[in-house]
């Protein structure tokens, strides 16, 4: 299997698994009437031009672009606006951006079939849809002008929010045309621009969201303020899955500013005049928990079960050639790799503000799943879905944590016991200990080598299926398409290849998507083993990979470029190494070199990172660079320190003192080289997170000769051994 195919085709497993048929050919949302129901019909003045769910132009020319996806720092609002404005020929400096309301009907992600921001697919999945939405609107505005001037539409042109007729030197603004354009039929197949005529796409334009983020004006979910609101914080059982047995709230009620104590079957919450009062009240509560059966479970139990299960045969996810025969040819090597449970640690802790009124519910939060939050709030409030208003916000980090609606559901349940609107805020400790965790994985790989090439490759992925819980229709025939994504989509030319998946659900913890998702694990295992095989073949790791990338030329080009830019092969001091990682992931092709030093006690110092990426058409090249810089740090943070451990059913980590983040003094220079490409745009937000860990692991391998098989990095294993 090669990776020269279109960027989206690698999602075959996921796509075909969805009920109702997942449509990459979009469900066309364009229609003549305003479509942002249910919220926005009353306040829309007549004459506003709203050809589809994404674009509104009022009579003053004010152009509002509605964002179907969530902005969590990845720059997607700016990129989406650029695509819409490009085809619309709007004046980009003047467009207004609005958070999209919950609606699967209008804003379903074409890959998932529901409204969700994840999988690094906002741009690659919405690309054609957004272009068509912009182009249809432009065609209607031009048609309106042509009709007014009684000229051929083909003789008119649009730019910067105006339609012009050069021959007669006449111009009308979009605002002047909005009324008449709104009465025209929406074209079925509007003509898209030739990419050579793009004026916005491909430029490193400034982000729309950052000015307000630089002076404290941006309102995140946690900043929502509602009249008469009280503040609440909560505690769930420290043993995951436990229940409340008894609560003594006498001391809590004496805390100044505490207004109410709410006890539900699985959590307690304290309501106060401000967060500090609520928090002090929570600390003063004496809660006896029914810890349940999980109180006996430790990390060792979870690992033992995963390791035992990984010895079983799995469900076959890919089979090419004859792997059994292939493994007998040449020299055979075997290795196992393990990745730990991880927390998201988004910097904005979980929160949700709720106002319940008879028969209705309004929530304020930051989410990657607007419609799912609406659904969970409705269920918790016991009202129909259309009676729930969701006010989404800029997200103080998502990384997959905000693909879950649990903080919304619990906030609504608490709010039902409180007479005023409440903001429910989790403490950092609660956030860390009641996350949905990146699964622990075990990877079992065998390969045979002959003449510097891999003859056969057998790869078994064992771990939790996030998809089976999160999107059950996508989990089909025992295969989690995400967990084996990078395993199935191997970039290297190997004649005999076999991939299996063993589903193992860990006790105690719930697993969730985490930046980099399945490929995070796959790429770590594959690229670590590739380095070990290169050494067995007595070959340079870059040369070894280049020899097997004929079928994936875009990755081959990226790898060549990163080798050149990183000074690959030039001499380094002792205990300093360079490590490489090459990956096709999320529809992009990325090669990374990490240069790192390992000191005598095994501490790792990052010296330099170089990255080359072919992500197809780079909508905003500066955002591509920023996402890789940040994603690399995200991944390297995990590689260096990330591990969630369980003791007696409790998550042991609690805050940034015991769940370490990389800091600025540990951050090396990071150079990102974006390769010019005319291919369909690829995903980018998660690719750096996936690239960092194997590249670092391989740098340590080069520096010390120690082939680490597990993350986070074991300092003792790479320290200088005392004689």
């Amino acid at each position: 299997m090669t990776s020269t195919h279109a960027a989206l085709s690698r999602r075959v497993v996921l796509q075909s698994g969805l009920a109702g048929g997942l449509t990459l050919a979009f469900q066309w949302p364009l229609r003549a009437a305003p479509v942002n129901e249910p919220q926005q019909s009353a306040d829309r003045p007549n004459g506003q031009f709203a050809p589809n769910a994404f674009i509104r132009v009022d009579k003053s020319g004010r152009t509002t672009l509605v964002m179907p996806q969530a902005e969590m720092g990845q720059g997607v609002y700016t990129a989406i606006a650029m695509i819409l404005a490009e085809e619309l020929d709007a004046d980009f400096a003047q467009v207004v951006i609005e958070h999209g309301p919950p609606s699967d009907k209008l804003y379903a992600n074409p890959i998932f079939g529901i409204q969700v921001t994840g999988n690094s697919n906002s741009i690659r999945s919405f690309w054609d849809k957004l272009r068509s939405a912009g182009a249809a609107a432009r065609a209607m505005l031009i048609a309106a002008a042509a009709a007014q001037w009684q000229v051929d539409a083909a003789s008119c042109s649009a730019a910067n929010g105006k339609v012009s007729h050069a021959a007669s030197n006449r111009t009308l603004t979009y605002g002047e045309l909005a009324d008449t354009a709104g009465k025209l039929p929406v074209p079925d197949k509007p003509k898209l621009k030739d990419p050579k005529d793009f004026t916005l796409i491909g430029k490193p334009l400034k982000r729309h969201d950052t000015p307000d983020k630089s002076d404290g004006k941006t309102i995140y979910g946690i900043d929502a303020m509602v009249p008469d609101m009280k503040f609440a914080t909560l505690a769930q059982c420290p043993v995951l899955g436990g229940k409340v047995k008894h609560v003594d709230d006498s001391a809590a009620k004496k805390v100044s500013g505490v207004r109410q104590v709410v006890v539900l079957d699985d959590l307690v919450a304290v309501v106060g005049d401000h967060m500090w009062a609520a928090w002090q009240g929570l600390d003063a509560l004496k809660v006896t928990w029914d810890e349940g059966p999980n109180a006996k479970i430790n990390s060792t139990d979870i690992w033992n079960e995963l390791r035992a299960a990984s010895k079983k045969d799995g469900v076959v996810a890919k089979s090419l050639g004859d792997v059994t025969m292939g493994l007998t040819q040449g020299e055979r090597f075997d290795a196992d790799y393990e990745l730990p449970l991880l927390a998201h640690a988004v910097l904005e802790p979980m929160n949700c503000t709720v106002r319940l009124t008879p028969g209705a519910c309004e929530i304020w939060t930051g989410t990657q799943v607007q419609s799912r939050c609406q659904e969970y709030a409705a269920k918790a409030a016991g009202i129909p879905v259309d009676k729930v208003t969701v006010n989404n916000h800029y997200l103080g980090g998502g990384f997959g944590r905000r693909l879950e609606p649990d903080m919304v559901e619990s906030a609504v349940r608490i709010a039902k016991k409180v007479s005023s609107p409440i903001k429910v805020m989790w403490t950092r400790e609660e956030d860390m200990r009641h996350d949905v965790y990146r699964p622990a994985y075990r990877d079992t790989i065998s390969a045979s080598l002959s003449n510097g090439k891999i003859v056969a490759w057998k790869y078994k992925v064992s771990g939790s299926s996030v998809l089976a819980r999160w999107l059950p229709p996508a989990f089909q025939n025992g295969i989690d398409g995400d967990a084996v994504d990078g395993a199935v989509d191997m970039p290297y030319d190997i004649p005999n290849a076999h991939v299996e998946y063993v589903r193992v659900e860990p006790r105690v913890v719930t697993t969730g998507f985490w930046r980099g998702v399945g490929p995070n694990n796959n790429v770590f295992a594959i690229e670590s083993f590739m380095d070990e095989l290169a050494r067995k073949a007595n070959m340079d790791p870059v040369a070894f990979r280049l020899g097997m990338l004929e079928g994936t030329p875009r990755l081959k080009a990226a790898l060549k470029l990163v080798a050149e830019k990183s000074g690959w092969g030039s001499p380094l001091p002792t205990r300093v190494g360079r490590g490489v990682c090459a990956q096709p992931s999320f529809g992009s092709f990325i090669a990374t070199v990490v240069e790192a030093e390992v000191d005598d006690v095994g501490a790792v110092h990052l010296r330099r990172i170089t990255c080359a990426v072919d992500t197809g058409i780079a909508v905003n090249p500066d955002t591509i660079m920023a996402q890789l810089q940040g994603g690399l740090i995200f991944g390297l943070t995990a590689a260096l320190w990330g591990e969630v451990t369980i003791e007696k059913g409790r998550v042991q980590q609690s805050n940034f003192n015991d769940y370490r983040m990389l800091r600025i003094d540990e951050t090396p220079p990071i150079d990102v080289h974006v390769i010019k490409s005319a291919e369909h745009p690829g995903g980018i937000g998660e690719t750096g997170a996936t690239a960092g860990p194997p590249a670092l692991r391989n740098a340590i391998y080069a520096a010390t000769g120690v082939p680490l098989r597990r993350l986070p990095i074991d300092r003792a294993a790479i320290a200088v051994k005392k004689a």
């Binding site: 941006t218 940034f656 800091r663 600025i664």
Partner: protein, 157 residues
């Protein structure tokens, strides 16, 4: 208890317990939400404000300890020379991603530049290592501080 505090040049009277951290007074009592809660234990720096020009973690600073000293927050830092330079550099170099930590980053950087107009890498590390950015914008933070200091090293774009 009633406390009188000076925030961005304006005096506010607030009625809270004397151990209430300044962070929650700013956010929940005064409604100034630009200052963020991230950890509550002075590990992440998201809550950084200035007290008489010095960077302080407001999540651990009791209101009773503020006294009459001048508190400056992200909402007011643009009125200072260093603060406005930092904010401009942050936008010029497009530092910000999710932005949640950036109030604290900007406050720490403004305090650094106010006392050290030409910081080198070691100065930047020392002043900024207490601010976590989960999006990983550190490379650009470093460049932006240098740009704000006027060393002409702006990244070409």
């Amino acid at each position: 208890m009633t406390f009188s505090i000076n925030v961005n040049g304006t005096t506010h009277n607030v009625d809270v317990g004397d151990d209430t951290p300044l962070l929650w007074v700013l956010r929940d009592v005064l409604g100034m939400t630009g200052t963020k809660y991230g950890c509550g234990i002075a590990q992440c720096g998201a809550c950084t404000v200035h007290v008489d020009g010095n960077p302080v973690r407001s999540c651990l600073l009791p209101i009773a300890a503020v006294g009459t000293r001048a508190v400056t927050t992200i909402e007011g830092i643009g009125a200072t020379e260093a603060g406005s330079k930092v904010q401009k550099a942050w936008l010029d170099l497009e530092v910000i991603q999710c932005g949640y930590c950036q109030s604290g980053q900007i406050m720490s950087a403004a305090a650094l530049l106010a006392r050290n107009p030409r910081p080198d890498d070691a100065d930047i590390n020392a002043a900024m290592a207490g601010n976590i950015c989960r999006c990983g914008t550190y490379v650009r933070i470093r460049e932006a501080i240098k740009s704000a200091a006027g060393d002409g090293s702006r990244r070409p774009s």
